[in-house]
Symmetry: C2
Subunit: 764 residues, 2 copies
């Protein structure tokens, strides 16, 4: 299968630069120049308006609208969800309209030159500049800058700098807070009602409320640089604004800054007056600093972040840039400030995928946070505890007990209305259990387990114990009628990934239960009492784990992805013309499921996540079977292949897949970056370098390191948090070095040798 | 599994009688008292209006409204249909409102006694009578009568007879033609626009048009018995009416008759003026006869129909009545006048199942028509030829060639929007092939084959040849990712029923192709040319038939319903509490598919349809395996079990299932008769008596007879059309007799002996 890079941005170590405007990629650029700060996110759209192809996007994390799902009465079935929800496209708080004479600036129709758009990943600043030649004959350089504060519900900042290069002119500038934003995934519906607005000479405020969910967003803007301008307040149904006019003589300049403070409420019913009052109070408290002061503070904060998070690759500028971009976007999307939030498939860069959190939080994203920001990793797990009620209720709806975590969700209730995914993909709960296990082992923090982790594990086991069934032929335990991680086989029985992950959840839970009873009797009693654990349950879980069906060809040792998989008709993927990808768009839906090819790793994912449980020979045999059958129609696919390939010595394949992972969005490999960034697969890119070439493994007792430097690379350097210390791994040709750069000594396995690593460099 | 009769109607040989009104069964009665004449159908609702539970229903066969299916953009997939359609609830042409003083007659609020509702199956007349005690103190007997003419687009007739038993009164009667009828399956939407209406002193006309499909219905009414009444025309958006007032003195009577002639157009765009003119013209031509004259003609027509169609059972009044009811409703629903129409799941008694035609036309309904009205059987097959274009297009949509017949349809395009049925149930085309084979063999009419049958067979084979795949393990041919006749297993591979039926389609087609080439070279050349048959195709079909996967346990000889079926977890159906039925309403959808129980016969259906291909031992073994696993959640299920049980000597089971089949609706076994009659399963009841106790087989070279009279029965008598003659079979204890009652001698197999049967009784 051929994936082709579409590179149009400059390759630079720290910058994402679009040199000259590419209107045919307008929406791709909007995605790529997105900014976020966990609390809110904004696409890189043209704030002055644009008549061409665009998808304005401004999001507040967790703020969603509900949808009642229409079902024809004769064809609605029990257990299918009746209500869904999706992140709301909220408030265009950068809203500007600029006119000179009777010409409104619009890059589809206005004359302009020297266009450049740059995001500086060192500071989180995005700037866009061009020279506008007005119909009136003036030439005006305009530079738009924006950044989002890093910190608790921090403000957003915008600067608009005008410079008349030649010719005099009068500019009329409309500055607004605008909730009249279309919901693109809901046929451009306007979802907001705005019961309160206000405008004064230098500030705006507006309150938006969603009709069905009742969620509320207060947004305020304070402007600097309007002195001497004529200012008129304007108001529309979902808009509060100021119309500003000023003259600019040749050589003259004016800079307008905007500081935006927002406050959200996601706990309806929302009291409009109370939210308004709280919003104003927070605006006053948080919006004091001006653009320059806030920017300086932010740049310093980012410098501190990069200190730990950065990964250096020398000798491979494209991957260096791609990887940094992934780290930058991941950190922006989520850094653990609020445990009621989570990482979403597209971060805060799009409505697509509805702002949902999926099972890749635990299987793909967690390592980035565990090794860079362990508190954020714990927040991610706490989210599963906060949303436990939804998982318990969902299991009951499906006639099961325990906790059945949703396939996609914001608030913890199942939001995936495509039942063949929402109802059949039962592997999410096992991923949560895996996340708890992984976190606890790597961080050594047993606190989460004592507080909530064991409770989740018990409820998860209970779900699988009641969802599973027994084979009448072999007496094995397993799961009939599921969809595994590979979504190109549906309604299969005994999917390997699902069965293996559930088996491990059973085993780890039984083991942890015993450890808790010994070490923390009080927590044990409290949790067991709360869950109402019956004496016989752990024993049945042990039995079910021991008798779990795990299909494997006795001759070749190759694992069978599900019952009957080896009898699925074979298709050579090389015979599929590239223009038929993605298959979802080009093939009849049903035909996708009729063959032995797979969408993304399933058996191989289990082999990666639980690598220590499999030999190198097993990995090799299964890689060679499944890799040629994989379509990679999930963006989560290449990184897992790269990591496994690196581990079994397939260096070319490892590098090829790595490239697809780091630059998936920058080079739009999947032709859908316009829909938003593949944020969770960026976490896959992180894993790719650290677990792949970086050679780390974190599924044993101690973290282990066995790096493999690609031939072209001169140096690879990354840092990981391990049990309270920060360890730096530096790999150069023929030499690997580990050292602690912060905190006390830690025990690591370096090329199979358990080693105590200190601040002094250890070569291995 | 426990199915319980809910009997509330009298058991009488020729009448369906509700003695005293049963408001709790109001909608069940509406279904049971439905009348139809193939052209139109009407539920047994109270024409005077009713404030209680009701579902008014009036249908014109084939007149449907379209629906564009809403799909969330991110979740619509290729190959899924985008447009559906469903029969339109059309015109309440019996519409009456009756008032005395300020009291409007309504059986929810008015005082009444002596209620009786009766359908006389000998004549097709439905009458309803009661005595109304008005608030004004008068007692008025009202008798409503209705019947539908049998014949080409024949009129409907209504009589309303008033008799003042005591007290004087003035009655105000509103007589209307009313398109303001809710579409119950579309959230009570009003679907009709009425661009033209007219009213005169004794007649009404109105034209309704459907907004999306453009189908049009013209309805006219001529009244008799209005002499001396004050008559005022009234009009509303979708209504044309006459308000009539007359006085009734104690002992006085008045009878109002209505003759309704309708004309429909299903070929948009419909010219409103042309349809109006044509409607008036037909009204004048067809509406001349009054109620009594038309009734006499109709009663004579029904007498002629019963002469052939009736089946007599002596010694079992309940089954005698139930069976006659099935024959009556089947004949009403369809008798072959128009080959663009077909039998629908609920006849013309409901919107439920959307007026669609399914695969049971060929597998269940065809025998009733072949053996009673061969021309109608041929019309049913012609329907598949008329709708071939839709089947060809559907195959292309699914990346296949040939003809893929829809799961449910009116106009030949797929209407089933539940993709797991519409897309996965690929067995419909094989049923069509089976129908062609069955018809040709039984009737000896090769004309349909020469005209169109071979063309259909070739296109059907082409579909299966391109839909099928090869097993990489065994080299067998088969069908992956299907749903079989048993709808409780989804996305299975190599469903036995599907594979077996497709194999037979291949074999029969190859055989027929050779016969055509020899016997009818011209037709052969024409059809092969039209289809563009490639030389190699028949050979590949032979190979695919020969290598078709047909799973069977080598030890027990039991057929495996699909790959891996014997490994499906087992559930003892006796452990499922009766209140959990139907499972679709009480179980999570997914859970239905996780077990080895089945919804309806699948393997057993193949064994019945192709009985000659299996030994008695095979039938016994498979019956004993599958019967205890069958939920019978399809109304098509009991009759097949009864027939097989009769053939293998399980007399009690045969009688038990027979009872469920004949009285399914009369006794509301499935608790859903309110949604309409199970018309196609009534054809199953016909098969049940003729193939079951009647012992007929029609899948060999000659029809064969081997009756088994149940102990309680004193006599069974049925008549069948065989190759132009009508044969009567009469079975009494210890004695069976065959004779030709019309036409020349025919060859039959009587208890395994080939016999020429003539007008003289042959005992066997």
């Amino acid at each position: 299968m051929i994936k082709v890079a579409q590179q149009y941005l400059e390759v630079e170590p720290w910058l994402i630069r679009e040199h000259g405007f590419h209107p045919e990629r307008a929406k791709v650029s909007e995605s790529l120049f997105s900014l976020a700060n966990e609390f809110m996110g904004i696409r890189g759209y043209f704030e002055e308006g644009y008549g061409g192809d665009r998808m304005v996007g401004s999001f507040f994390n967790g703020v969603f609208e509900e949808e009642r799902l229409a079902q024809t009465p004769a064809f609605s079935f029990r257990g299918m969800i009746e209500r869904s929800h999706g992140i709301a496209n909220a408030c265009d708080w950068l809203h500007v309209r600029i006119a000179a004479g009777d010409e409104t600036l619009d890059l589809t129709s206005s004359a302009f030159s020297e266009f450049e758009r740059v995001t500086d990943m060192r500071t989180g600043l995005m700037t866009r500049s061009f020279v506008w030649k007005t119909r009136g004959g003036a030439r005006i350089r305009i530079v738009f800058s924006r950044f989002l504060g890093i910190g608790d519900e921090a403000p957003g900042y915008q600067r608009i700098a005008f410079e008349a290069l030649d010719g005099d002119c009068v500019l009329k500038v409309g500055l607004g807070l605008d909730f009249d934003i279309p919901q693109y995934t809901q046929r451009l519906a306007r979802q907001w009602e705005c019961p309160r607005k206000s405008a004064s000479a230098h500030s705006l405020a507006i309150l938006g409320q969603l009709k069905r969910s009742g969620h509320g967003v207060f947004a305020s803007a304070r402007f600097e640089g309007l002195d001497g301008c004529a200012v008129t307040p304007v108001e529309a149904e979902r808009h509060a604004g100021l119309d500003v006019a000023f003259a600019l003589k040749a050589g003259g300049r004016r800079t307008i800054d905007r500081i935006v403070v927002a406050t959200v409420r996601r706990d309806p019913p929302v009291d409009v007056d109370a939210l308004w009052a709280k919003g104003l109070e927070r605006a006053a408290a948080k919006g004091k600093a001006g653009f320059d002061e806030a920017f300086a503070a932010n740049a310093a904060a980012w410098a501190g972040i990069w200190e730990d998070v950065d990964i250096e690759i020398e000798g491979d500028p494209a991957n260096q840039q791609g990887l940094r971009y992934c780290l930058f976007q991941l950190y922006q999307s989520y850094h653990g400030a609020d445990p009621t939030l989570n990482v979403t498939a597209k971060g805060l860069t799009s409505e697509y995928y509805y702002g949902w959190t999926w099972w890749d939080t635990e299987t793909y994203c967690l390592p980035f946070y565990m090794f860079n920001n362990p508190a954020a990793a714990r927040s991610l797990l706490q989210y599963r505890h906060i949303t436990l009620a939804g998982a318990l209720e969902r299991a009951r709806q499906m006639d099961c007990q325990g906790a059945r975590y949703p396939m996609g969700t914001i608030d913890g209730t199942e939001a995936v209305s495509v039942w063949q995914h929402g109802d059949l993909e039962i592997h999410v709960s096992a991923a949560v259990a895996f996340g708890i296990e992984h976190y606890t082992r790597v961080t050594g923090d047993f606190g989460f387990m004592r507080e909530a982790g064991l409770e989740l594990l018990l409820q998860i086991c209970r779900y699988y114990a009641t969802r599973g069934q027994w084979s009448p032929k072999t007496g094995e335990f397993g799961f009939w009628c599921v969809m595994g991680a590979d979504e190109f086989h549906m309604m299969v029985h005994n999917n390997y990934y699902t069965n293996f992950m559930a088996k491990r959840a059973f085993e780890y839970t039984v083991e942890t239960l015993a450890a808790m009873r010994t070490r923390f009797q009080d927590d044990y009693d409290r949790i067991v009492g709360k869950v109402g654990l019956r004496d016989d349950e752990p024993g049945t879980w042990r039995t079910k784990a021991a008798r779990m069906r795990l299909n494997r060809d006795p001759v070749t040792g190759i694992i069978e992805q599900h019952d009957g998989y080896f009898d699925m008709p074979h298709l050579d993927l090389a015979t599929v013309p590239p223009e038929q990808f993605p298959l979802y768009e080009h093939w009849p839906y049903l035909k996708i499921f009729q063959w032995d090819f797979i969408k993304q790793p399933d058996v191989l994912l289990a082999l990666f996540l639980h690598g220590a449980a499999f030999t190198r020979e097993e990995k090799l045999a299964n890689y060679e079977h499944y890799e040629p059958r994989c379509m990679h129609e999930s963006s989560l696919s290449p990184s897992i292949h790269s990591i496994l390939a690196a581990g079994i010595g397939k260096r070319d394949a490892a590098m090829n897949y790595f490239q697809q992972a780091t630059r998936l969005d920058l080079d739009d490999y999947n032709r859908n970056t316009w829909q938003g960034l593949h944020t969770t697969s960026m976490a896959g890119a992180y894993m790719n370098v650290v677990y792949g070439f970086g050679g780390m493994r974190s599924d044993g007792e101690l973290p282990s390191f066995d790096p493999v430097l690609p031939d072209a690379w001169r140096r690879l350097r990354y840092r990981v948090h391990v049990r309270g210390s920060v360890v730096e791994i530096e790999v150069t040709p023929g030499k690997s070095v580990a050292r602690v750069i912060r905190g006390g000594p830690v025990k690591l396995v370096l090329r199979e040798a358990a080693t105590e690593v200190t601040a002094h460099a250890v070569e291995f």
